[in-house]
Symmetry: C2
Subunit: 635 residues, 2 copies
């Protein structure tokens, strides 16, 4: 019996010392449990999302040095682990030292080389270079190496052959994307399987959590194991990694697929775990029942884990949240209250003359329900002082002594209020409280920049900025019904019209609020950003002409007719938000806080942007002219 | 005689309509001048730095459509131009439509295909994937295509063969990085030259300006032309492109290299230009004298062009600058005053009780010298109100009615002042004035986050954030001596000790100021970020042990001994700033304004970062222990 353990460790990016310590502890545990082969995730020594830390030779040498510690620990156990591998004699195409994203196999204190490879490690063949992934920026792929030494990747792809307890085993080693080969003209697992008698496959991964990705992986990896008639061990890490603008949770969920493609072991999500399986028993083990949670439960789990880990990572214990009596800040408060101790959570309501008694009362009720610290800091005095100074103090042309005065419009006053709340009150209070303050923006607002820079678009973390407005509501209900099992978020907050309350035009008691019609705009914006083939106004006009807008967007049928009685109205709305999305909103996102990602496309490093201003294609302009001409003709 | 024109147009990224219009105008001009072959830059229809706009199929179809317009315009002229080329039947590795970064050649309204290529265009072979470049994220390279169709890039690399005015010509076509092949194991120009009788090479580029890059290009491209015994036309665009966090100027500087590698034509930097050369006369033309400007002149030109273009691009006419009487804001003011009309430039001084009469006087003098609008907005009242509210208003635990109060420390007060100036006064004034306000941070501050988020670390553009402090001083002198030729920046501002004036500890009249010793720290920080092999504390300790710190950093000799009498002092300083650089400063940069790049490594998208906290390698810790033990032993 070959006892194989999946070592689902937490990886702390950029801290090889901590990761190696965790690995050594788990190796000791595995040895105590009689494990023969232990498998660690991809790049588990350095971490994966490190930005340009890969350009520090000292860091690379450090990773090599910690890798040696792991190799030395392989007495009486076979260790498979991911690390960066260097060839100090060669260069990458950027002129820096040659780096491979590698899978090492150590036995008896020495590395075991693959059967046909110029190095004693397996090299990642397929390099993801989309979404948050930048593998090609740092790592030389197996395909490039093959070209360099005048052979093919197919020939270099070879198993590890090991003698363990007197038996000979062949292991097929893969790294993450190697198992996702659909869009490449090379399938590493098939190549390995074609020429060799593989006993089991190993896919070591560093795979950030995305809603729905695990289901897809189970289909893809299950099918691969089945096609190869060989068990497959998928080992992923837990923890939190980021590339600055976007923060990813890693859920682990390491899985064993049997030779018939069934799932027979799954490590718990977001927990470190050493999970042992006897190779020979795999095909007789029962299928593991998959957790059937609604999406919002997955979202809550990812957000909750992400916030907790992020706070720990930046050593932040205390959190300040500005609460308005609206849904976004209420959900943020309830979410953080499930993570941060009540004495370390300070909710602040900051009324101006435009804030209704309704929302002030709801804020207080929310703070009561959560049992945390509460403060009311009125902003009217400061806002009035600002207006008074800006309008009252002279603007002088010193060359000729000409004096003029600035005029503060009501629109300018709206933003002055928003900045007063965040940059004056919340930032000051957070510093005095000894913590940070949150950004409560959702994804719809973030898409069109319906926010104020240095105002509500600020904070140390935007935990809800990858959730559409309807998901924020779902999360509110989930928090009340499932997490707290009581009405911590007052129903009044869920029922009230969403409003910024920055002017009389946004009076909630009169049912006035945001210009966004979320049941439609949530889905329109999703098409701009989350579709693999991104939608633009040109596509929207085509769908409008066909009468298939709702079908393509996935929103409720009939909305287009309900919201936009004419083609002109539809076009005006489309252009209004497209102008915002590709205009001011880009400038705001450049300076936005880091976003916790859960969707298939989050803002930040996942969705790279240039500040280029709105653009309409020629075909859009033609379709628009035709539509409007037809509309006029009908009149 | 073959009349060849370099068409150095301005490329507006993401606006194929505008670019095509400019191209058609220049084609008409070229026809009128009897040009036979006109050469446009790389990706001149779509632009180059577009972020994930490449994922919009409608945008791609639009680029194709505008490309057709250019092809149609090729009656009586041969047009070489860059555009994205699609194969709608195939996919990239991300599953999206196949895209090539291509060089098209049109003649008589039709495309001319290279001699051995499955498509009627030349495909970029080498794909930069470092610094700001992300080519591999979007484009399928010639090498990948070769692999896919079972051949080699070497075989596909083939010239364009054309009959022009009864003569047969062979053109070797290259795209940008194809000419920078030092670190690749394929040299496109040598491959083309080996098998074919090339009459001239063309390298179409979209090459962002970097200080010193043109000198390097002249060496590399001159050597290539000489080695091939063939003239080479390098055609680059002008304009401004960005990837959100980092903004690049494109200087054009299109150049003709003779067969002996001499420079015989150079288009003016940062100007649109149609520059004609007769092929047969190239080798008899005299070498062009190179402009011998000091670095600071190049920097001024790049910044000045960048600011002007950026303001135009975001449709901003009016600018507000907070001036403190210090060097950074003074240089920003003088720089913008050379671009923005005096009535559209508003300088605001915002004194608190900590601001000296000295700096207030210098601010006023600066505004007088520049002749622009000036305003004084004291912040003490608002700052006092904030302190009063934060300390005076109760913090209540609603569960039990416990009341406590926040305490505002003097450190917290420093940041309250900085945020009051930017987020309250400047942002409000800019909105009322109808413009934006600038971020005046330099690169040293930006490196270690010596700034306040939503305070001085905010604004619509950080034009000086790629300049070290000593370069800011150089720019001050250049503005006075060369640009204005009078003392617009008062000498007092140049001479005063740099200080934030946020507390009594930073009293300029007592010579107190920043904790940074710029003559050393400028160079230390440069080693962290700008060295191709990035330096870290491990390297610094090695150099310290060797006594080679100043030599490696490039700062004045003797500084280490002068500033740090002991190893402990050197280490304390090193760790203090490394902790900042890799700690809080990362968080601040994530939310920083876009930076105008001039150096070989700017913050933002050029230097990608993760918020992972400080790290010290094992070898660093060993060296440190040894050094400190030795120091103790000596005592």
């Amino acid at each position: 019996m070959l006892n194989i353990a999946m070592a689902q460790i937490k990886v702390t990016p950029g801290h090889p010392d901590q990761n190696t310590q965790r690995m050594l502890a788990m190796i000791a545990e595995a040895k105590a449990k009689g494990v023969d082969v232990i498998i660690f995730p991809e790049l588990c020594i350095p971490g994966y999302l490190l930005g340009d830390t890969w350009e520090q030779p000292a860091f690379l040498r450090d990773c090599e040095s910690y890798g040696d510690d792991i190799i030395k620990a392989s007495e009486d156990i076979v260790i498979l682990f991911g690390n960066v591998a260097m060839d100090w004699e060669k260069k990458n195409n950027d002129g820096r030292v040659r780096k491979y994203n590698a899978l090492f196999c150590a036995q008896d204190g020495r590395l075991v080389a693959p059967d046909n490879m110029p190095y004693p490690f397996i090299i990642k063949t397929l390099m993801p270079n989309y979404r948050e992934f930048d593998d090609t920026r740092y790592f030389f792929s197996l395909q490039k190496l093959a070209r360099e030494i005048g052979t093919t990747a197919e020939r270099l792809l070879s198993p590890l052959t090991l003698d363990i307890k007197g038996e000979r085993y062949r292991i097929g080693g893969l790294l993450c994307e190697d198992g996702w080969s659909d869009d490449y003209n090379l399938t590493p697992i098939a190549e390995l399987n074609r020429h060799h008698d593989i006993d089991f496959f190993v896919n070591i991964s560093a795979s950030p959590y995305t809603l729905g990705k695990n289901e897809k992986r189970n289909r893809v990896f299950g099918a691969e194991a089945k096609a190869a008639h060989t068990p497959l061990f998928y080992v992923n890490n837990v923890g939190l990694q980021n590339n600055g603008k976007t923060i990813y949770t890693f859920d682990g969920s390491s899985t064993v697929y049997s030779a018939s493609g069934r799932i027979i072991r799954v490590c718990p999500a977001y927990e470190e775990s050493l999970c042992c399986t006897e190779l020979e028993r795999i095909d007789s083990l029962p299928e593991v029942a998959q957790e059937a949670l609604p999406d919002i439960a997955h979202i809550y789990r990812a957000l909750s884990y992400g916030i907790r880990e992020f706070l720990a990572e930046i050593h932040m214990k205390k959190v300040v949240i500005g609460i308005s009596g609206g849904i976004d800040s209420a959900v943020a408060a309830a979410l953080y209250a499930s993570i941060v101790a009540p004495e370390n959570l300070l909710l602040i309501n900051m009324p101006s003359v435009f804030n209704s008694q309704t929302t002030q009362g709801l804020s207080q009720k929310l703070a009561e329900n959560l049992g945390c610290q509460y403060m009311i800091v009125p902003i009217q005095e400061a806002v009035d002082l600002t207006k008074e100074q800006l309008e009252g103090l002279p603007v002088t042309r010193l060359s000729d002594g000409t004096v003029s005065h600035l005029a503060v419009s009501s629109f300018v006053m709206e933003n002055i209020q928003a900045r007063d709340r965040s940059a004056r009150v919340l930032a000051g209070a957070a510093a005095a409280f000894g913590g940070g303050f949150t950004c409560n923006a959702n994804k719809a607002e973030t898409t069109v920049g319906y926010s104020t820079l240095y105002g509500d678009q600020s904070g140390f973390l935007a935990a809800l900025a990858d959730l559409w407005k309807h998901q924020v509501y779902e999360l509110a209900n989930y928090l009340n019904h499932t997490v707290y099992q009581r009405e911590v978020i007052p129903q009044g907050i869920i029922d009230i019209v969403p409003s910024a309350e920055l002017s009389n035009a946004q009076n909630v008691d009169e049912g006035k609020g945001d210009p966004l019609r979320y049941p439609y705009h949530d889905y329109l914006f999703r098409a701009f950003i989350e579709r693999w083939q991104k939608a633009t106004p040109e596509d929207l006009l085509l769908w409008y002409t066909e009468g298939t807008v709702e079908e393509h967007l996935g929103c409720a049928p009939g909305l287009v007719q309900e919201y936009f009685p004419t083609a002109q109205a539809f076009i005006d709305d489309l252009e209004r938000w497209w102008n915002q999305f590709t205009g001011m909103a880009v400038a705001k996102r450049i300076q936005a806080p880091p976003i916790l990602a859960i969707s298939r496309r989050a803002y930040g490093f996942d969705h790279r942007e240039s500040q280029d201003g709105p653009y309409y294609t020629r075909r859009y302009r033609q379709r628009k002219a035709k539509l409007l001409a037809a509309a006029t003709g009908q009149k």
